[in-house]
């Protein structure tokens, strides 16, 4: 009987010890490690701003604009860019979409340093412009809740394929 009690208490003690150690155990979910594994070697041009760094293909140019905003160009044609947008947690995700846009596809991406929402958008000029050209863009919204901003990395889908867009997104690092 005594042995039974000793055994029972030992088991309880060991179990409680195990559960305590679980609380402090850190899971190895470092997104940088995951991202480095899929780093695209084609992105040889590193762009530095005051707030972030990002890598793009060497044949592109990145025009640095006011407010740490970038415009990506290929053969002098604008093909995408990076904007910084105000983000308000109580507002819907459409707050990040440009006006005049329609959502074709939207999903949340995993494995980034912050919450990232990828949206494919159809953008039309104002009715009053008389133009009917439709531009399709992919936007990757990096949401930084505590700073109430989102980094909007976007590309024209006619000029930039999805994998390149994702690889560029994976290279974005905040300072």
């Amino acid at each position: 009987m005594n042995r039974f009690f000793i055994l029972l208490f030992s088991v309880i003690f060991l179990l409680s010890f195990t559960s305590c150690s679980n609380e402090t155990k850190k899971l190895n979910t470092n997104p940088e490690q995951q991202l480095n594994q899929s780093q695209n070697t084609q992105l040889k041009q590193n762009i530095q701003t005051d707030l972030y760094q990002i890598s793009i293909p060497k044949e592109w140019t990145a025009e640095k604009l006011d407010g740490n905003i970038l415009a990506f160009k290929k053969e002098n044609k604008k093909i995408g860019g990076l904007d910084i947008i105000g983000y308000y947690p109580e507002q819907p995700i459409s707050q990040l979409e440009p006006n005049h846009s329609e959502v074709i596809e939207s999903k949340t991406l995993e494995g980034f340093f912050t919450e990232v929402v990828k949206e494919k958008l159809k953008i039309t000029p104002p009715a009053a412009s008389g133009e009917t050209t439709v531009t399709e863009q992919v936007h990757l919204f990096f949401i930084i809740k505590e700073k109430k901003i989102a980094y909007d990395l976007y590309f024209n889908t006619a000029d930039v394929d999805e994998q390149t867009a994702l690889n560029i997104a994976k290279s974005l690092k905040l300072k």
């Binding site: 005594n2 407010g67 910084i84 006006n99 000029p125 009715a127 109430k148």
Partner: protein, 405 residues
């Protein structure tokens, strides 16, 4: 049996010693992190910017160092350089469940081993009172995280007293009550100081609103006594527009404060065909006005210090392009605002749509061609058109409503 009792005593002693160790650890956490808050405010008071930067978490350090190194910021007394003296008046640790309602605690907890937040009343004397600092006790939320065994500042922001006090988390002090009055005035568009003196305002005058309604300037009477609009229902006086549309624009790549009525008048004809029927133009006038209005209260381009851009990213704005038919539409809806089913001003987004089609109901985005479609049909007023696109959408969980301003 004796052995069992001995074993039980050993287990109890172990449990007791472990719990007391935890108690010490919690107290240490508060004591040590509190010291960092004291050091932080002391560094601001002394202008000891090296210590101020050293106390920042890695994620903020470089940006803050850059700001400190910029001689123009110091010369112009911007940001923290505006402070002449700073002293802690009152401070209290906030529990995690409170902090989770105020900031992104879960993300901080993923990044830092330990996180501790404080509500801190800091008595500032400043060179020039503005929307960031006033003379007297200002309340900050200071969040600290443990980085390599050292407490570092990960956030220092205005404390939302308007949330904390009603929820019972304030100090109950007179200083706090005064600060709350200042915050409430700020929510209503007025930047005031402790004495109630107006420092800055973005509130349209009664006269400005009458002009927006199309009333002849000479016919405008004295402002009547009545209930004034509050919060985001206060019609802004101006909007900050970043000019990004054309390099031939003399204000290209500049942010310009623009009279709100002038802004709406010079957007609508660039978005809606001025020859379209009046109900379509009135629906457009509501969407254009409320889109700009919303962004005055929800700054869209923080790094440009601009509420909106003059491009299709927001609304196309071109100086001196107003047209009488679109201005008449704006006048006809003057004094009428739109709110969502929660009573808040919302982002009235829109898109071109397709000619001859109404566009998608409850999409949260008005179709420009859709308003033409409805006006041609003669079956919907401009308000009904707004209901069609914005009711039960991501902008409004129920029916939208109008309000007067």
């Amino acid at each position: 049996m004796k052995r069992t009792v001995t074993f039980l005593i050993v287990v109890c002693m172990l449990v007791l010693s472990l719990s007391s160790a935890f108690a010490v650890s919690v107290n240490d956490k508060v004591d040590n992190s509190q010291t960092v808050v004291n050091l932080l405010v002391d560094s601001i008071n002394k202008g000891d910017w090296k210590t101020y930067v050293d106390l920042q978490a890695n994620i903020n350090r470089e940006g803050i160092q850059g700001f400190i190194n910029d001689a123009d910021n110091a010369k112009n007394g911007l940001g923290i350089f505006n402070v002449k003296s700073a002293k802690i008046k009152e401070m209290k640790a906030l529990s995690d469940d409170v902090v989770a309602q105020l900031t992104n605690l879960s993300q901080y907890k993923q990044q830092y081993n330990e996180v501790q937040a404080y509500l801190v009343g800091i008595d500032y004397r400043v060179k020039k009172e503005n929307k960031y600092f006033f003379n007297g006790v200002n309340y900050n939320l200071v969040v600290l995280g443990k980085e390599a065994d050292n407490w570092k500042v990960i956030e220092m922001s205005d404390a939302p007293l308007e949330i904390l006090i009603p929820a019972g988390y304030g100090f109950g002090s007179e200083d706090e009550k005064e600060a709350l009055k200042i915050i409430k005035a700020r929510i209503n568009g007025d930047i005031v100081n402790k004495e109630g003196k107006l420092i800055e305002s973005n509130k349209a005058s009664y006269r400005g609103i009458q002009i927006e309604k199309g009333i002849n300037s000479a016919d405008i009477q004295e402002a009547p006594m009545g209930v004034l609009s509050t919060g985001d229902h206060v019609r802004p006086d101006y909007i900050r527009v970043y000019h990004d549309r054309s390099s031939s624009d003399p204000n290209y790549h500049k942010t310009i404060s623009t009279d709100f009525y002038y802004y709406v008048k010079n957007v609508l004809p660039n978005e809606w065909y001025s020859t379209w029927p009046s109900e379509s133009l009135k629906a457009g006038a509501m969407a254009v006005k409320m889109y700009g209005w919303y962004h005055v209260y929800h700054l869209k381009w923080p790094s440009l210090n601009a509420d909106v851009k003059d491009t299709t990213a927001d609304q196309v704005f071109i100086d001196n392009t107003e047209v009488s038919s679109t201005t008449t539409a704006i006048n006809n809806v003057g004094g009428v605002g739109l709110e969502n089913s929660s009573g808040a001003v919302f982002e009235t987004q829109y898109l071109a749509g397709t000619q001859g089609q109404p566009g998608t109901q409850s999409s949260g985005k008005m179709s420009q061609w859709g308003t033409k479609y409805w006006a041609d049909q003669g079956t919907k007023t401009y308000i009904q058109m707004c209901h069609y696109y914005y009711d039960n959408s991501d902008k409004s969980s129920g029916a939208i409503a109008t309000f007067s301003y």
